[in-house]
């Protein structure tokens, strides 16, 4: 039982961190109607930003470095959106869907190769938040993962508060529901697009920086979290914020329990993504629009 609870605790913590990244992708998709193929690279940049900040400013608190990384990558996302994605929404691109795929895939390749040129292929690991394990009742959990999970949970709560209670949140929801109608009532959809992309990139970077002390950073580390995020947002229902959060927690739990109970522990980790994909296939079989997906009317 203790083993089961321990796996659940790890799964929940990882799920909350996955939710942060998936929420960024959902935000970008629901507002800009663009699938960001560079989302994993924003995650990777977050890890590197945290590593270089902590290497350069030795007195900097690791958690502060995480949030500064989010701001830096958010700013990169903002500039990218203004230069490359805004023309889509100004009607200046003849084939917007294909263009969006090309520029985001291009950004992904560019960032991966730029990181390889600057940081090299060697894994980099920023300073740990806190070493050791924490005892929660009968369950032992890595302190690093727990802190990463708690920070993600606080950020998720803050984000939900902003989306549901503030003017900017209402504007984001209005644009995600009907861009023309939002524009008619005085909202500038172009500005909202830029905000959404910057926030989405920043969230991915924070997730990357939070997990960097656990998994280290390499130029290609973004691929797996990126694929996992696509699975989560489809599982939760494209564009649904509660769906992304629930989907992420479900994937986190399934991955943790699947790995923990796989008959051959030496190969259990190799199939980590498969456990989530099985659940993904089952859910889509019965709910093709995902857990919280809606039929557009």
């Amino acid at each position: 039982m203790q083993y089961f609870l321990s796996l659940c605790a790890t799964g929940l913590v990882m799920g909350v961190i996955y939710a942060l990244m998936a929420l960024g992708l959902t935000l970008i998709f629901s507002i800009l109607k663009v699938v960001n193929f560079a989302h994993g690279e924003f995650y990777m940049l977050g890890g590197y930003a945290s590593y270089f900040l902590l290497s350069t400013f030795t007195g900097l608190h690791p958690l502060l470095a995480v949030f500064i990384s989010g701001l830096i990558v958010g700013a990169i996302g903002l500039v990218f959106e203004l230069i490359f994605l805004r023309p889509i929404h100004k009607g200046q691109i003849e084939r917007p869907s294909e263009y969006a795929v090309l520029v985001t895939v291009g950004l992904s390749l560019f960032l991966m190769n730029l990181s390889l040129a600057i940081a090299g292929p060697i894994p980099r690991r920023p300073a740990s938040f806190l070493a050791g394990t924490v005892q929660l009742g009968t369950v032992n959990i890595s302190a690093e993962r727990l802190i990463a999970g708690v920070c993600s949970l606080i950020l998720l709560g803050l984000l939900l508060l902003i989306i549901n209670k503030t003017w900017i949140g209402k504007a984001l929801r209005a644009v995600s529901q009907d861009k023309d109608a939002a524009s008619i009532v005085g909202i500038n959809p172009l500005a909202i697009n830029t905000i959404a992309f910057a926030v989405g990139a920043g969230l991915a970077a924070i997730a990357g920086a939070l997990l960097a002390p656990i998994f280290s950073v390499t130029p290609d580390i973004g691929a797996t979290p990126s694929i996992r995020s696509y699975i989560i947002i489809v599982l939760g229902g494209m564009g649904s914020i509660p769906g992304s959060i629930l989907g992420a927690i479900l994937i986190g739990l399934v991955e943790s329990l699947g790995t923990g109970y796989f008959p051959d522990p030496t190969r259990a980790l190799n199939y980590k993504m498969v456990y989530g994909l099985v659940i993904f296939a089952i859910v889509l079989l019965f709910r093709p629009r995902g857990l919280f997906g809606r039929k557009e009317t």
Binding site: R173, Q177, A181, I184, I187, T297
Partner: protein, 242 residues
């Protein structure tokens, strides 16, 4: 209030939707805009509202050019609109729908002030009991009222209403009719597209008739009603030049 459209042209592919439309008024009026299907009514409203960019011509409101502005900028100049098929934010509550335009245009006044104003607007529209309901649960007519309420939350001076009576229960239609008259009394101007001839002839102070992108009649509704070109346009016959 000064509004002027001068020689407005708009085409889509090979179709000339607006063929040099000119229209102006001073002060507040209720102007009806009618015409057969495809005559260019919605294109005209969409072009005034910033959804379409005109090919040529100008639109000025209170001395300022508003052609080539984006819809949110047109709204900031005091020109608001509703849609033929309602575009309320279906996954937001009625109150949230009212707060969105108010907070977008005047965020400095704060949420509490706007919530109080929202309650007043809902009282006026006799919809206060629905304030926490999601817009998707409202009837079509109630959603049209909600769109009118959104415009009332802002300082909109000219309201462009696209088919406000279409598909609305007769009781609600009467209410919309009355609200328009009350708002007109408060100094608002209206440009209303409608296929409901009884309502538009009764409500309008001036009637403009479009056909194939041209204004074919413009004046007192009771005179326009019997205009030969208008009758022919609605009967589908070719109009010969005099």
């Amino acid at each position: 209030m000064e509004f002027e459209i001068s020689n407005l042209k708009k085409h889509f592919g090979g179709i000339q939707a607006l063929n040099g439309v000119s229209l102006s008024f001073s002060g507040h009026q209720i102007i009806g805009l009618i015409g057969p299907n495809g005559s260019g009514k919605s294109t005209l409203v969409n072009t005034i509202g910033g959804i379409h960019e005109p090919d040529s011509g100008t639109i000025t409101f209170n001395g300022k050019r508003i052609d080539h502005l984006k819809p949110n900028q047109v709204m900031q100049h005091g020109v608001g609109r509703t849609f033929q098929v309602t575009r309320a934010f279906r996954r937001m509550t009625v109150m949230e729908n009212l707060l969105v335009p108010a907070l977008a245009l005047y965020p400095e006044k704060g949420r509490k002030t706007w919530e109080a104003r929202g309650r007043e607007v809902l009282d006026f529209l006799t919809m206060d009991h629905l304030r926490d309901d999601y817009a998707r649960s409202l009837s079509g007519g109630q959603q049209k009222l909600l769109e009118l309420g959104q415009l009332m939350m802002t300082d909109t001076q000219l309201l462009l209403l696209d088919e406000p009576f279409a598909g609305v229960h007769p009781k609600l239609m009467e209410s919309i009719f009355e609200y328009i008259k009350v708002l007109y009394g408060q100094g608002k101007a209206f440009l209303i597209i409608s296929h409901d001839m009884n309502s538009i002839f009764t409500l309008s102070h001036r009637l403009v008739v479009l056909n194939y992108g041209d204004i074919i009649a413009d004046g007192d509704p009771q005179v326009v009603k019997y205009d030969e070109k208008v009758i022919q346009a609605y009967l589908g016959e070719e109009v010969e030049d005099a």
